[in-house]
Symmetry: C2
């Protein structure tokens, strides 16, 4: 089998988990489950199948130091720093040219640092199976078996069933669809033919570079200029000069939708994107009253609330279906059904220039 | 006119404003309005009519240091320290023997440190009028004109109208009643003949000592033993020996109900006992959405909530009639109509021995 590398995408920002997540403390830096950050979990769960030198991380200059401290076992040179974030396509392209130097036929697993995976055992087996499939030249995506008709994810339509590998079924990926309406989502989940696009991909570096070359020639051109100076003192200045000029592009729309030979391996691994506070329910068990609690909670007649606490005792009386998030400098209290309005809070903070809270 | 002294009762405990109030931080130590504690407000509002040496404070050993820091202008000797708290009757008795030494005919105003008074101007005029009445030998109580049929206060029934003093009407006090039922409270307020017992009394020290002697001979006996050593090194040891043996007794039930020549002066002074979080509405203005806020609040579609914050921004979405109290080590979230259950929270904290939060 070809050599196998992991590229952990850890450059994201976002404030959907405000007030816990901030510009300077994105989701991958949060300790949502236990005393490990999401990024640490991402490294931990693949540690049994990758050597430290086989794990690469692509991130931004503002985050790299923190990530190095969180994963000191990884070689410093494995942290690839983008001068500015330009979406997943450039980040993956940068990883690809680095890995291409090591082994043009290398298989790379593009993994996320801001998702939670409950069944890490199955996840690792799926990765190894996917690597075998990718070795043949397929572009492999891991499709998440949907647990509800989400309108928050892209979906992948399964086509022809190709083969079984180590207990996993490989289908041709017939179509990538964007976030659907509620009705469409319901129909797609009912049909049994769709999986969620997890953003996790496994492919040979030569194959993805080939697709980038074909579908995103501008990006490919930049990548080749960077590749030409890779390992020389000109590398960083070149990156700093070229990267800001790139358009922001996701690998899904930039490459996958039009790519040749894309396959999907449906996996049921207890995956959650932890995209909002409600999804804490997917990753943490509830107590007898249906409350999901991180921190110390003393509740009287309190049901189905989500408490994410810090250093304080949180006492509640007669509450239901509420979210309480307590951080050192900001507190959020809102009903579960209105949590999407957290972005409105963030917008108002921008308006009044409370950068300390963003 | 006789000499006039104030005795501020500042020994209370209580956790009805938990998590802000604690055993070691009772209501009089809280900054509920502005940057001054309730005790500081209590001193501030009488400062225009009393010299510092005319203001006495009775409190406990655990609080005296903090109170001295809050009112450094008062002579240290004016802080009377009870070894243990035994209710208002012993505290007032202790104050009375101290003042009796200065002037047996002195008039003393017994005042509280854990209540809020909006109209301090009228309050001061009422005190001066009451002092004139007390000089004649009457035991004067300030009766608060009821603003609603409270079941949380005792009431005083007005009897014969005696005279007018500086715009205040003096009535004979016909009866002290305990906290009434809702129905009785409604009838009492409707009748216009009742006022709330504010716990503020104005009388000559010889008169109150005479009543204590007649109605509480055990307490009087102890007071006389203390009086005998007052100003000598034996004072503190004597107090420490005798005080713990006293029964806990309130001046209302111990003396006032059976006292001779009690009069009441109804006053409308914007008085609030700040007995629970809802009463923050009585002492602070609401914003346009009906929210009463101390601290920094960012609300979306949030109405009629009470926010008592500390150092954090408190962001809320879609909330109504809720109380949020945020302190350094504990947070309370509960509906307004269930705030009496805060005592249940306190009880549970006792049960699990979280003395740090009590």
């Amino acid at each position: 089998m070809s050599s196998f590398y992991a590229l952990i995408m850890a450059g994201g920002g976002g404030t959907r988990l405000w007030p816990l997540s901030r510009r300077a403390r994105p989701k991958q830096a949060l300790m949502l489950v236990g005393e490990r950050t999401m990024f640490e979990h991402a490294v931990d769960r693949i540690a049994p199948i990758f050597q430290p030198e086989e794990i690469f991380v692509v991130t931004g200059a503002d985050q790299v130091e923190s990530l190095m401290i969180q994963a000191p076992e990884l070689p410093v040179g494995n942290f690839l720093v983008e001068p500015v974030g330009r979406g997943t396509a450039p980040a993956i392209g940068l990883g690809a040219i680095h890995l291409h130097r090591r082994d043009p036929q290398a298989v790379m697993a593009v993994l996320t640092a801001d998702h939670f995976i409950r069944d890490v055992e199955t996840f690792r087996r799926a990765l190894l199976a996917a690597a075998q499939v990718a070795g043949k030249g397929h572009l492999v995506t891991l499709g998440i078996t949907p647990s509800f008709p989400s309108t928050g994810f892209g979906y992948i339509l399964q086509g022809e069933r190709l083969y079984e590998v180590d207990g996993f079924t490989v289908y041709r990926a017939k179509r990538f669809t964007e976030k659907p309406s509620a009705e469409t989502a319901f129909q797609m989940v009912e049909s049994g033919l769709y999986t969620w696009n997890s953003g996790m991909f496994i492919w040979r570096v030569d194959r993805i570079l080939e697709e980038i070359s074909r579908q995103m020639p501008d990006l490919y051109d930049v990548l080749m200029q960077v590749d030409a100076v890779l390992g020389t003192p000109a590398y960083e200045p070149t990156l700093a000069r070229l990267w800001p000029e790139l358009a922001t592009q996701s690998i899904d729309y930039g490459v996958m939708e039009g790519a040749q030979d894309v396959v999907v391996i449906p996996v049921d691994i207890g995956w959650s994107d932890v995209g909002n506070w409600s999804s804490m329910r997917e990753i943490l068990p509830a107590d007898a009253d249906g409350n999901v609690v991180v921190g110390e909670h003393l509740g009287i007649d309190t049901r189905n609330i989500i408490v994410f606490g810090g250093r304080r005792l949180i006492a509640t009386i007669g509450l239901e279906d509420l979210i309480i998030v307590d951080t050192d400098d900001a507190l959020l209290v809102c009903p579960v059904e209105r949590e999407q309005e957290v972005r409105e809070i963030v917008r108002r903070l921008q308006e009044i220039r409370r950068n300390d809270l963003l």
